[in-house]
Amino acid sequence: MSSHSESIIREPLITGKDITYAQITNDVLRPVENMPGRAWWIGFVVACLGACLWLFAVSWTFWYGIGSWGLNKTVGWAWDITGFVWWVGIGHAGTLISAILLLFRQNWRNSINRSAEAMTIFAVICAASYIVCHMGRPWMFIYSLPLPNQYGSLWVNFNSPLIWDVFAISTYFSVSLVFWYTGLLPDLATIRDRATGLRRRIYSIFSFGWTGSVKTWQRFETVCLILAGISTPLVLSVHTIVSMDFATSLEPGWHTTIFPPYFVAGAIFSGFAMVQTLLLITRKVLGLENYITMFHIEAMNKIILLTGSIVGVAYITEFFIAYYSGGEYERYTFLNRFIGPYWWAGCMMYGCNVLMTQLMWFKKIRTNIPISWVLSIVVNIGMWFERFVIIVTSLHRDFIPSSWAMFYPTWVDVSIFIGSIGLFFTLFLLFIRVLPSIAMAEVKLILKSSSEQAKKKLIEHEQLNDEQVEYYKESLTKFDSIEAVG
């Protein structure tokens, strides 16, 4: 299989002149085996400060109760559920990359799946922390589990989407963790076999005695394939169920059948934006330009464009159905998004998610790193506002005008949100320090078929269609990691 040569018109997935198997190991493990540089330390200190802020604000919430948040009788869900849905959505890209793209045999996933999946796990941790926080009394979490208790037993209500959500999020988190860790085993063994002393002992414990024998690899591949197969419907179910938290209610603006596909598309959209935000920095700081190439960046931008457009279609459909339903309250809710007091949030949502991502139709923009990075942040902001609009703007003016209200966040709301970003980045920075940020074994797999040097050899030794070779050389001009195209 490794000698299988790929069509010349496919762009290379690994660039660089003398990439060998050993070189891949050296490049990927450089940040793990050496002390981190100044950029990492600055990032880590800033992220840790954010995490401390999170810890403080969450402790404050637990001590004084959720009365310390800006919630009121009308707006009972605000930044907490906004943050929860935002983080869960971000997590979805990791599973999409590691599972769905594996089933579709998209080899370019091999160099980004590890960090994307780590991102999934950290994002779901942030999301879960919101759920526990918004209970106010976190120990009450036990009553969301189907356990016997002193009240009868009073069981959980399996008819409720909120209970489905408990099952969905916990399954999603633990299955993602298992998938991620199983994939890490061969790479942990690589670190172990290169290390000495204490480091070797530590990585030895965590690599579970991996040897890379034939039978181990055979089983490993079976396990990965089946995990990918079950993670694919799982990831779709998770955001479907999150959307049902809203869609099964009778609240205008929530009570819509389009929510499940609309939320899933939005989740993948925001997740890819976050992957882009992280990887554009990571590849530069860790010097991984040869593995996370312009092809990867452009491919992710195309997915952002596609899912952003799906989200746009969902927005238009929502408006049309609100009009077409003839329901007075339904119509008012959607009009209120534009002409109500939260018009600015609506503008952020529609502007960032639909208008800005349409710029991705231009190849110059898709392949421009600074612009891609800025756009990925814009998408993240837009998706946060989408959840804010769905939750707060729908709630704040309900059926009785006398109970209309506005939501004003307190410093605790803001601190938990900013702090959760700090927590996320703390975990991510620790991850790139102690674990290989690229799945080495999987990248080695495509070295002989899809690397730039393999393509070069193909051009030199095989009889190829000149037109196709020209097309290939033309496609290389966009790569920032290839200097001169010969």
Binding site: F158, T190, S237
Partner: protein, 178 residues
């Protein structure tokens, strides 16, 4: 009598290693195992290994998970404490679908991975039984049990001819024990 226990053929290229396996098999040299830094398709069939049966285990665990949570939901909401929610039936099967699905996936994943770890003897802290330290980095290693095999020089020659960059005659089976 030579003290060599295992002969290792180290290859830098997976295709040459596959060629090496063919050459050894043509000369009726039994292969102990092959260690590679990445999954190489086709070795398992060359060495006559059976297909993994983990898929069956995964299916069984999935069935177990789905039936467990469905039975739990039935017991709790239908048998033990049925609730009257707008006069609707307590045994609301569609409402049980999401949780049944989630636990099917959960049990499949954990059951299958646990079976994989159990069958392959992988667990935290297990002493790695590594025959060559570069087998997880950039070397594709064919290991041959030296005892009772054809003259060792012949094996060395077969491996070298097939493209091995290095052939090791090891007195110890594993290099990783401290």
């Amino acid at each position: 009598m030579s003290k060599t226990k295992y002969i290792l053929g180290l290859f830098a290229d997976p295709d040459e290693m596959m060629h090496g396996i063919d050459k050894l098999q043509q000369n009726s040299v039994p292969i102990y195992d092959v260690y590679t830094p990445m999954p190489i398709h086709g070795i398992d069939h060359k060495l006559g290994l059976k297909d993994s049966r983990l898929g069956y285990a995964a299916f069984m665990f999935g069935c177990l998970g789905g039936s467990t949570i469905f039975s739990m939901a039935y017991y709790m909401l239908v048998h033990d404490w049925p609730m009257d929610i707008g006069g609707k039936p307590a045994f609301a099967i569609p409402d049980f679908v999401p949780i049944t699905f989630e636990w099917t996936v959960l049990f499949t994943a954990f059951g299958m991975v646990a079976t994989f770890f159990y069958a392959t003897h992988l667990f935290p802290g297990r002493a790695p039984r590594v025959m060559d330290l570069r087998a997880t980095d950039d070397r594709f290693v064919i290991a041959i049990d030296a005892k009772g095999n054809i003259p060792h020089d012949d094996i060395t020659k077969i491996l070298k001819d097939a493209g091995a960059v290095e052939v090791k005659h090891n007195d110890r089976k594993y290099v990783s024990y401290e």
